[in-house]
Symmetry: C2
Subunit: 200 residues, 2 copies
């Protein structure tokens, strides 16, 4: 690398540092965030669980409710559910196209929502993860206004993550951070089997 | 819900189950996958670490190399780096706009790439996560052909995840699964401070 290029790189990095530092200076509100991770790509649930891991790594307590994957064996659940700093609940009916019984799914969702609601009132939980909750909302198993109200009234320092495909506009409007995970390409389409430890 | 609606729901779910089952029947190749998680949204690194958690939850061994966040305290590293099933290495220079020294960063990247390369030759590792590696590639600290070759020649059952903004087309072409994480909205823009346990 020439001296000139090195100098240019240094200037560019200095500029970027100033922009980043200015952003940090502006962002002064210290409170929990409400994050929605949606889209059709791989990485929504794993991102939620990765953030749970992150919070646990700072000594925080975490609550998790899985709204739809109950029947599957699932690596992240194996790891987290017996940790002392984790409260873990699962809606026990499996994927909805396996049960094909809307009423049964709705009852299961309502039951586990009671656990979720209690988490949203527990200031000891730094992070609450509602994995695959968009399905329960989109199928109208849960009342969206009740969910939004419970989230809005949570303890100030508590963060909430909702994952799942097809997040509706009311979720996007209500949250602080919304990431859309786009499947540009998926191994499944190329004929590679879903891999244990990667897809579940 | 009326009987008619219930029946319609059941038929729709039955149809969806057939589509899902047919996809599973088609996808027969049993091998590790190469996943790239890019885009400007929140959730790339956390998704990588969530997948690491998932693999660990099935009793698999995992390798992690962080290419850029070395100087920060980081919750996921606190959790993983002392686990017996995890091999963890960090490139020790912090964000590049903090060091502003391209040569020093390049050396650090080359050093940690040696660890990464050894992981790609170790069949005991079920999953290898190269967190924030796109930066090291885009700044040309690493030789992209050497990286792609090492990934292509890894053990058949090993999966690889690369995270980071700005994945170039050669990465998208080489991988099996590519998710782009779009920041539709971010709490930082609304003036909320980056939260410990959420953003790092």
């Amino acid at each position: 690398m020439t001296e000139e290029k090195r100098q240019r790189h240094k200037e560019r990095m200095q500029q970027r540092k100033e922009i980043v530092d200015a952003g940090i200076a502006r962002a002064q509100e210290d409170k929990g965030v409400f994050i929605v991770l949606s889209g059709d790509g791989k990485g929504k649930s794993s991102s939620g669980f990765g953030t749970a891991l992150r919070a646990l790594g700072h000594g925080y307590k975490v609550g998790v409710v899985q709204f739809i994957k109950g029947a599957w064996e699932c690596g992240e659940r194996n790891m987290l559910e017996h940790m002392p700093d984790v409260e873990f609940h699962v809606m026990g009916t499996g994927f909805t196209w396996e049960t094909q019984d809307d009423e049964k799914d709705k009852q299961a969702a309502e039951q586990v929502w009671e656990k979720a609601k209690a988490m949203l009132q527990n200031p000891e939980l730094h992070l609450v993860l509602f994995d695959e909750m968009t399905y329960a909302l989109n199928y109208k198993w849960l009342d969206k206004n009740e969910v939004l109200e419970a989230i809005a009234n949570r303890p100030v320092q508590q963060s909430v993550i909702i994952t799942g495909r097809g997040a509706k506009k009311y979720l996007q409007d209500a949250c602080d951070t919304y990431s859309e995970i786009k499947a540009v390409k998926h191994a499944f389409q190329a004929g590679i089997k879903a891999q244990k430890g990667i897809e579940w």
